[in-house]
C-alpha cells in the first residue's frame, strides 16, 4: 500500500525537533525508518507530520568515558557492528546486532530507534535491560536519564513523554570480569525471534554475580527472569530452568507453551556461555 499523506520536516537541532513534537500531537519521528516506514506503507499509522531527525548533529557518536559506553540514538546498527568500542565495551550488543534483520536493514536502522520502538521481539531492548543500561531523553525541559528497568512500559510503549526524543543509550562499559550470553531462536535468519535471551553477569571467582537474564519474544516487553537469575548465581542451571516463570502468549509463530519451553532451552545454552571462562 502507499502511505496516507503526511507533511515532512527535517529539524536541524534537538530543540527544533522537540518544538515540532509540541506543535503536532500526532507527529512521528523518523530515524532509521525501518519499522516506521513499513508501518506507514501498511497504513497502520497515519501521522500528519513526519519529523526527520537524521539531520540533528551530535547524535551519532560512540563514546567510552566515565566507565560507560554511550551510543548516540542515530548510530546505525551497521555502524555499531563495525565499532571496536562496541565490541570491547558492549560485547552483548555486538553479539546481538548480526541478528537484527539483514544488511540493508542494518545500514539504516538505528539503535535509538530500536530502543524507542520497543518491539517485544527485538534484541536491543533486551540487551539494554540485561546490561542495566539507561536511556537519555531530550524534551522541552532538557535532558533526563531513564533506567532500562523503568523504560519499557508495555507493548510498544516506553517512558518517553509525548514531546521527548531518545538521544542516546548508555551501558556500563564491560570489564574483564564481564560475562555475556546471547541466543535466539528464529525460523529464518534475520526474522524476529520466536524467543531470545540476552544475558549479562559478572564473574565472581567460579560463580556469577549480578546475573541478569532478559528474555524477548515472550511478553509485552522484554522480561527479566529474576528467580532464574538467583538460581543461576548459585550455579544451578537445572534449578534456574525449573523456576523460570514466564507466561508467554500464543502468536502466529508459536504457542505460549512452546515459547516457554524454548525459553528453558535457551536458558541452558546461555547459562553455559555465561559460565565459560572469558567474556
Amino acid at each position: 500500500m502507499k502511505p496516507a499523506p503526511f507533511a515532512y520536516k527535517k529539524p536541524r537541532s534537538l530543540e527544533e525537533a522537540v518544538a515540532l513534537l509540541g506543535e503536532h500531537k500526532d507527529a512521528r519521528l523518523l530515524a532509521g525508518g525501518q519499522s516506521l516506514i513499513a508501518t506507514l506503507n501498511m497504513r497502520l499509522s497515519a501521522p500528519s507530520l513526519l519529523i526527520d531527525i537524521n539531520g540533528i548533529g551530535g547524535l551519532d557518536g560512540i563514546n567510552h568515558s566515565g566507565g560507560k559506553l554511550e551510543i548516540g540514538a542515530l548510530v546505525r546498527h551497521a555502524q555499531a557492528e563495525r565499532s571496536a568500542a562496541v565490541a570491547q565495551y558492549a560485547p552483548l550488543i555486538a553479539r546481538a546486532l548480526p541478528h537484527i534483520g539483514h544488511p540493508a536493514i542494518r545500514n539504516r536502522g538505528t539503535l535509538g530507534g530500536s530502543i524507542a520502538f520497543a518491539d517485544p521481539a527485538a534484541e536491543l531492548p533486551a540487551c539494554l535491560m540485561a546490561l542495566d543500561g539507561e536511556v537519555e531523553a531530550g524534551g522541552p525541559k532538557g535532558k533526563r536519564t531513564i533506567g532500562a528497568q523503568d523504560f519499557f512500559k508495555g507493548l510498544f510503549e516506553t517512558a518517553l513523554a509525548p514531546q521527548e526524543l531518545l538521544t542516546a543509550i548508555r551501558v556500563p562499559a564491560a570489564g574483564k570480569d564481564r560475562r555475556t550470553g546471547f541466543a535466539e531462536l528464529a525460523r529464518r535468519h534475520g526474522d524476529y525471534a520466536i524467543v531470545g535471551l540476552a544475558a549479562s553477569a559478572r564473574a565472581d571467582g567460579k560463580n556469577l554475580a549480578d546475573v541478569r537474564l532478559c528474555f524477548f519474544g515472550v511478553g509485552a516487553t522484554a522480561v527479566r527472569a529474576r528467580k532464574s537469575e538467583a538460581a543461576l548465581a548459585g550455579g544451578d542451571i537445572d534449578a534456574a530452568i525449573a523456576v523460570l516463570d514466564l507466561e508467554p502468549q500464543d502468536d502466529v509463530q508459536a504457542s505460549g507453551a512452546v515459547k516457554k519451553y524454548l525459553a528453558g532451552v535457551l536458558l541452558r545454552r546461555v547459562a553455559r556461555q555465561l559460565l565459560e571462562a572469558g567474556a
Binding site: 515532512y8 551497521a78 534483520g101 545500514n107 539504516r108
Partner: protein, 164 residues
C-alpha cells in the same frame, strides 16, 4: 501535487536530478514512477523481500523503506547505474552463465546484495564461504531458483576476484 510537496535533488546513477515530490513517496516509487528507472522492483513494501535493494551513499538499503525526500543530496545507485558503470559485469556474467535468475524480478536486489558482500570481502581480503553467501543474501527472496544457483554464481565471482 498537494501542499505537502517538496523540492528534492539528488544524484542518481551519476545524473543530477531535481524534482518535486510528495513526502509520502518512497524512494523506490520515486525512481520507478517519476524517473522511469524501473529496474528496481517492488515486492512487498514492508522491507522483507529485498526486491527493492539498491545503494544510497554507498550502502545497500531497502528502497521501499526510505522516502524520496530523505535523499536530499544523496548518491543513489540503482541496477541500471551499477550495470552501465561495469562494476557488476562479472556478477552479471556469472548469473547468466549459471542461470542464477529465472524470472529476473528479484535479480537487481539480489545482485546489489551480492555486490555488497563481495566488496566487503575484498576489503577484508577474505573469500566468503557458501554459508557466508547464504547468510548475506538471507534478506533477498527468490521464488524461482531455490538459491543454489545464486550461491554458485556468487561463489564463482568471489573466487575469481580473489584470484583463485
Amino acid at each position: 501535487m498537494s501542499d505537502h510537496a517538496l523540492d528534492v535533488s539528488m544524484t542518481i546513477n551519476g545524473e543530477r536530478v531535481a524534482e518535486r515530490v510528495e513526502p509520502r513517496k518512497t524512494l523506490v516509487d520515486f525512481l520507478r514512477d517519476d524517473l522511469g528507472l524501473t529496474g528496481s522492483h517492488v515486492g512487498c513494501e514492508h522491507g522483507v523481500c529485498g526486491a527493492c535493494t539498491m545503494r544510497v551513499d554507498g550502502a545497500i538499503v531497502r528502497g521501499c523503506l526510505m522516502l524520496a525526500v530523505q535523499c536530499e543530496g544523496a548518491q543513489v545507485e540503482t541496477i541500471e547505474g551499477l550495470s552501465d558503470s561495469g562494476e557488476i559485469a562479472d556478477l552479471q556474467a556469472a548469473f547468466e552463465a549459471r542461470n542464477a535468475l529465472q524470472c529476473g524480478y528479484c535479480t537487481p536486489g539480489m545482485i546489489a546484495a551480492a555486490q555488497d558482500l563481495l566488496k566487503r570481502a575484498e576489503e577484508t581480503k577474505s573469500v566468503p564461504s557458501r554459508d557466508d553467501i547464504r547468510e548475506h543474501l538471507s534478506g533477498n527472496y527468490c521464488r524461482c531458483t531455490g538459491y543454489h544457483a545464486i550461491v554458485d554464481a556468487v561463489e564463482a565471482v568471489a573466487l575469481a576476484r580473489a584470484g583463485k
